[in-house]
Amino acid sequence: MKRLLPLGLGLGIAAWLLPYGLDGYAMHVVDVAVVFALLGIGLGLVMGVAGQVNLAQVAFFGIGAYTCAILTTRAGLGFWVAAALALLAAVLIGLIVSIPALRVQSHYLGIVTLGLALAFLNWVTNAGVAGKSEGISDLPVPPMFGIDLSSDYLFYYVEIIVFAIALAFALFVVRAPLGRRLRAMRDDSLAAAALGAEIPLLRITAFVLSGLYGGVAGVLYAGLIRYVAPETFSIANMFLLLAMVIIGGRQSIVGCVLGAVVLSLIREVLVDFSVYAQLGYGTVVVLMVVFAPTGLAGLPALWLRRFRASQGRAELHSFVPYGEARAPEPGRVALEIREVSKRFKGLLALDRVSMTVTDGEIRGVVGPNGSGKTTLFNIVSGFYACEVGRVLLSGEDVTGFRPYRLSQAGVARTFQNLRLFGDLTVRENILVALDRTRTAWIWRYLVRPLAVVRQSRDLGRQADELLERFGLAEFAAAQPRALPYGIQRRVEIARAMAMGPRLLLLDEPAAGLNGEEVRRLAEIVRALRDSGVTVVIIEHNMGLVMSLCDRVTVLSSGRVIADGPPREVAAVPEVIEAYLGESTYLSLPGDVSQEAGR
């Protein structure tokens, strides 16, 4: 970050001096490029950072420009007043366009947003107030303390200042806890929800942000061109914008800016060969998507990774137990499941399952494949709603709570097949979980950015502590998917613990671990329990279950068939039948009940 400051400063000075070397036309081209760069940031935020396929960015742009045009020419408002209202309108439209995102994602969202962009285009082409297909001309020159902004040169300075602020804010948001949450949602919305991210609100936020940037770009466009017409906001331009963001690198704000500027300039150079330009950028988009999905911005990292691979390896350190331990209250119930049933398309996955986990216990949940263990976890962590039965957390009824609310209520979980955020670093994975603020807190990003910085720094310190405790400090900057499986498992547990949970649900934490790793896992889980966390663990590794758990609940075909201390459970005939085959088969030398009794 600090190394980037001189670079940014240099670029800033270069940008400031740029007009002195340009003729009037080149200046205008640069002015337009800056507008597209702003649009690119907006699209990058919503699509690259938050993972929402948004093909209505060009409509946000249009809303900004048109509102500005309509309010200045029809309502006679001053330019800057109109501009402020235009931003508001763009944000509002962003809010409206985000509503489908709450229901559908991916290609569905793509076609819906594309449809809404067409609807907008259709509206401005028809509405008399929007000047119909001829658009609105003769927008006033934005007043600026006597500086003549009709000059492209001087307007450039307005643009570049707005752009610098917008870029800085975007970079700030992406690096701040909000951006981290958005990226976490993009990588895995389920896991993000389990960590307390309010997915619907985050999606709305993403669209509102892109609306805001679209609006800013629209206002600048209105001030620069002083003419608006429907063609400018066409689908062809939407795809051009998309190409900019993909070629630049959608996940990187700087990449989006780079893509926008580069493509704007190329388009200008090839203005007399627009078909070839179209052919060219279409081809580049296809090639980028296949060979360099991270775009131009991702290329250095791609090359660096190859280079770094040969360097020395980081080492996993041992876990440092939590010092302070909260003494469990004997007999106090941490989790109670009452008569829960769950049905999938006629298949009864859970059939009146009840179990009670006391405070400070390590509870094992075992059973053959398909016996309903993970379904049970999904109900306790809020991913599934159960039709029948109740779930109580420390006596409080939490049945039907959404995952983020359960997370806030102190439930943390890991996943059978590891759901780490693949494009976030290990440290960021931890940070997402550490951030316990509500999403509604985001108003502070606009009003009190310093408070955000302070919080951010605080979280960073906690993350470092936690990484140290779990022996992961040397992997802080690594991407999880590049790490050995055993370490990924540890990261996931550390991430769950970062939430400071009361109840920890571990879904097959030993799957894929070797003997030594399983032993260390057992140590960690015990230490976590000792620090006051109640643990429920689904596991196939029976050795681990038998040695680690205080009590074991056995599920078979969605029903509880045994519940008790491990040794006792192992002697229950139904359990052996469920595992080995028929129970008659047990009457063998060395009766099981005798063995269990030893």
Binding site: P368, N369, G370, R481, L483, P484, Y485, G486, Q488, E508, A511, G512, N514, G515, H540, N541, M542, G543, L544, V545, M546, S557, A570, V575, I576, Y579, L580, G581, E582, Y585, L586, L588, P589, G590, V592, E595, A596
Partner: protein, 233 residues
């Protein structure tokens, strides 16, 4: 006659080591079992043999055929039939189409369902039903029937007893015995140890992706160590 030979077989999912250094062989006409608890690597072993998951193996051959260099869709042409775990019939296709697909590598002109319908008369009755509409047991029969349609000399079965009633398990058991008596080699993966021991002459016990024990089914049947491996005692 062909022998399936496996040496140094390993398989990883992402970073997970599911199978490590597994070696065994199945001679022509032999019935071999692989048993073990959930997650022991049994299913992965079969998938590795079939080439359905990226694997590494020092030796992986069936008779003259080097399976290491055979693409997954060609394995069936070597004479190996596969009954996947969880049946995996094609739910949207009719029973007959499912069976026909079993014979995908053969010409459909002179195809006969007699063998399969003889083994599983119920499938003949249901031949026009969608496979997805069958009961679990019927689907299991269909999955076995589908594998038989390729006229394999070795058939790999993955947990054919899963989720079936004892009566149906008995039926399946009888079919497997009959197939074996008729000369088809069997590699049976099961969690149900009892069933396995009844069908096979030799078995391997897997634990954590490795072979923990091997022996004749007769000997393993009486060995309490098997149970300990299962229950983690």
């Amino acid at each position: 006659m062909s022998t399936l030979t496996v040496e140094g077989l390993g398989l990883r999912y992402g970073g997970v080591r599911a199978v490590h250094d597994v070696a065994f062989s199945v001679a022509a006409g032999e019935a071999v079992g692989i048993i073990g608890a959930n997650g022991a690597g049994k299913t992965s072993t079969l998938k590795a043999i079939m080439g359905l998951a990226p694997r590494t193996a020092a030796v992986l051959r069936y008779g003259e055929r080097d399976l290491n260099r055979t693409p997954a869709h060609q394995v069936v042409r070597a004479g190996i039939g596969y009954v996947p775990e969880g049946r995996h019939v094609f739910p949207g296709l009719s029973v007959e189409n499912n069976l026909l697909l079993g014979a995908y590598t053969r010409s459909w002109r002179r195809i006969s369902f007699d063998q399969v319908y003889g083994l599983f008369p119920v499938l003949a009755e249901m031949r026009h039903r969608l496979a997805g509409a069958l009961s679990g047991g019927q689907q299991q029969m269909l999955a076995i029937g589908r594998a038989l349609m390729s006229q394999p000399r070795l058939i790999l079965l993955d947990e054919p007893s899963m989720g079936l009633s004892p009566k149906l398990v008995e039926d399946i058991l009888a079919v497997l015995k009959r197939l074996n008596e008729d000369g088809t080699a069997i590699l049976l993966v099961e969690q149900n140890a009892k069933l396995t021991f009844e069908v096979t002459t030799r078995s391997l016990v897997m634990e954590n992706g490795e072979i923990a024990m091997t022996g004749t089914s007769q000997a393993l049947r009486g060995d309490p160590k098997v149970r300990r491996i299962y229950l983690g005692l």
